[in-house]
């Protein structure tokens, strides 16, 4: 393969290959107009671990599949409250009393672009905001230094106060976790600078837990799916038969993200299916990662308080219910320990995902040699 040197900058060069690709490569003393054969292309590397952007295409693909099923099976419910998420694009998330998304709409054109194709059904508010933020980053609407504003609108003041706090804490943690330097303003009062406070995590998790816990015992419709329900990080691309999440969808008890019904990306899809019913309380990081979905299933009933960081990642395996085997409302211990790994599952393996964007880990395919 021959490359035409289009531009030779001090620290790199831009080359054009014979198939029309523009490639960034080391500037080995090139001159524009030169044709070269041996190049040292710039490789794209993913930020370690939290390669969110890798997941997006997979998530979107699966989201489309899941969307069909979810749409058919979900019964419409009057929104209990609305949450406006504004970066530049503005979207409105309608939620029910448990802060599960009931509707999502782009308020301005950018907002519409942001939500197009995004599956929000049955997901918890935390998860929806996280995912929308990720999308915004991927689509270029949000960059470090940006700002996110959240406005809550509801008749129930208690809900507003509670959600205000919980969402704030959650986002604070999530943004830090994503290493995204943006400011967040929830309601109109507090703004959250994203600081690298290690202490933030446990407290945020702790606050998240109780809210989840309170939600948990709530009735079937999605009890406590906190945060990382099942989306991107799990299920999607890697194999959950579209049917799988749909089937239990009816009870769809808050099974979120990692695990139950085999959804988490890493297999065990169908085996988990029967599980969901009891899994009411299991949220977020049920036991995702590789396998174990099914085995975890029976445990959940006691897990009602389980919030967020169930036991994600691949390690969890059979001891699924979060580290403390005492399935009991792991609410407290859970966030503390697994919290850091919490997000792990989503991000680990799937670095095979490829996207069109530089950031993700995809090898650009150029080995340099012809």
């Amino acid at each position: 393969m021959k490359y035409l040197v289009m531009e030779a900058r001090p620290s790199y060069a831009i080359l054009l290959d014979e198939e029309g690709r523009f490639v960034r490569a080391a500037n080995l003393h090139y001159e524009p107009g030169q044709t070269v054969e041996h190049i040292v292309p710039m490789r794209t590397r993913a930020p370690k671990g939290k390669g969110v952007l890798i997941w997006l295409p997979g998530m979107l693909a699966a989201a489309c599949l899941v969307l069909m099923a979810a749409v058919l099976l979900r019964a419409p419910v009057t929104p209990y409250a609305s949450v406006y998420l504004t970066i530049n694009p503005q979207v409105r998330i309608d939620v029910d009393r448990q802060s599960t998304a009931q509707g999502l709409e782009g308020v301005n054109p950018d907002g519409q672009a942001l939500v197009e194709g995004y599956d929000w059904k049955g997901k918890h508010l935390d998860q929806v905001t996280d995912e929308l933020i990720d999308r915004a980053v991927a689509m270029g609407y949000l960059a470090p230094g940006g700002a996110i504003t959240i406005d809550l609108e509801a008749e129930d003041e208690d809900w507003v106060l509670q959600t205000n706090q919980a969402l704030q804490a959650h986002l604070e943690e999530y943004l830090q976790y994503q290493d995204l330097r943006v400011t967040v303003q929830v309601g109109q009062s507090v703004s959250i600078p994203v600081a690298p406070a290690a202490t933030a995590a446990p407290t945020a998790a702790a606050t998240a837990a109780p809210t989840a816990a309170t939600a948990a015992p709530a009735p079937a419709p999605n009890p406590n799916d906190s945060g990382y329900g099942d989306s991107a990080y799990g299920d999607s691309a890697y194999g959950t038969a579209p049917g799988a999440p749909a089937a239990p969808a009816a009870p769809q008890t808050g099974d979120s993200g990692y695990g139950q019904e085999g959804d988490s990306g890493y297999g065990t899809a169908s085996t988990a299916v029967p599980a969901p019913a009891p899994e009411t309380g299991d949220s977020g990081y049920g036991d995702s990662g590789t396998g174990t979905a099914a085995t975890a299933a029976p445990a959940p009933p006691p897990e009602t308080g389980d919030s967020g960081y169930g036991d994600s990642g691949q390690a969890a395996a059979p001891t699924a219910p979060p580290a403390p085997p005492a399935p009991a409302p792991a609410a407290t211990p859970v966030p503390a320990t697994p919290a850091p790994q919490g997000g792990d599952s989503g991000y680990e393996a799937p670095q095979q995902g490829d996207s069109d964007y530089d950031q993700p880990d995809q090898d650009s395919g150029y080995d340099g040699d012809d």
Partner: protein, 276 residues
Amino acid sequence: MKKTGKNERPGPGFAAARFVFCNTTPGERNDHPMQTDHAILEQVAQAKTSLERADELIRQYQPFIKAQASRALGRLCTEQDDAFSIGMIAFHEAIRGYSRMRGSFLQYAALVIRSRVRDEQRRERRHAPHARLDQPGPEEGQTLGERLADPENPVDAAEGRLATQAEIRELAATMAEFGIALSDVAENCPRQQRTLEACRQAVRYAREHPELLEELLRTKKLPLARLCEGSGAARKTLERHRKYITALLLIYTNGYEIIRGHICQMLAPQGGERPA
């Protein structure tokens, strides 16, 4: 070039990095006092999205890059060495790929630089016996490849390059009218084969319908709707790679014969035959 020899010790990568880092030229030392890793993070974050900042950062860390490349090479690396250029692109990679989960930025960058330089060294060794055509040839202003291409008329080969240069300059100028820079295009270029193919469809379609190219030149905007309809490619894909597609369409307007000749393989139908 300031010698960094005195402070450079073979030792754990991180420690070496710090030492070198201190040893900037006197002028620089005032402007860029030794930064803690914390201060760098801010710069790295900005460099992730701004090419100028990235270049600036790289310039600032040249001694560091040279030191790491030297370590990987096992001998002193100068600015003339390819390893230095490789080190610089590796630094770009490190800027892109860095997240705080990885720990110290400099440590990470050092790793990336060294591993890249070593990889290329190994690759080079495999092909060692062959001379590289890009090397300077017997006459100045000319590469070996150019000389070999036309030994009778070495001047022609070099002239060919100059002509190409002129075309490229013109392309860049035209692209500027569209608000696009070459670096944007490189950034925007699809990585996946199937996305690339979708973009190709759009380009093929435009070629077959020159009025679209005319419209492009006239309105300075991409006729996305029609490209989408005509080529069958997904609208989102085309939108996402707008800059790349624009650049390619421009290449297929008048005046860029050489460049077009170069990407002859781009629109070749599956069978591999050249399009008429």
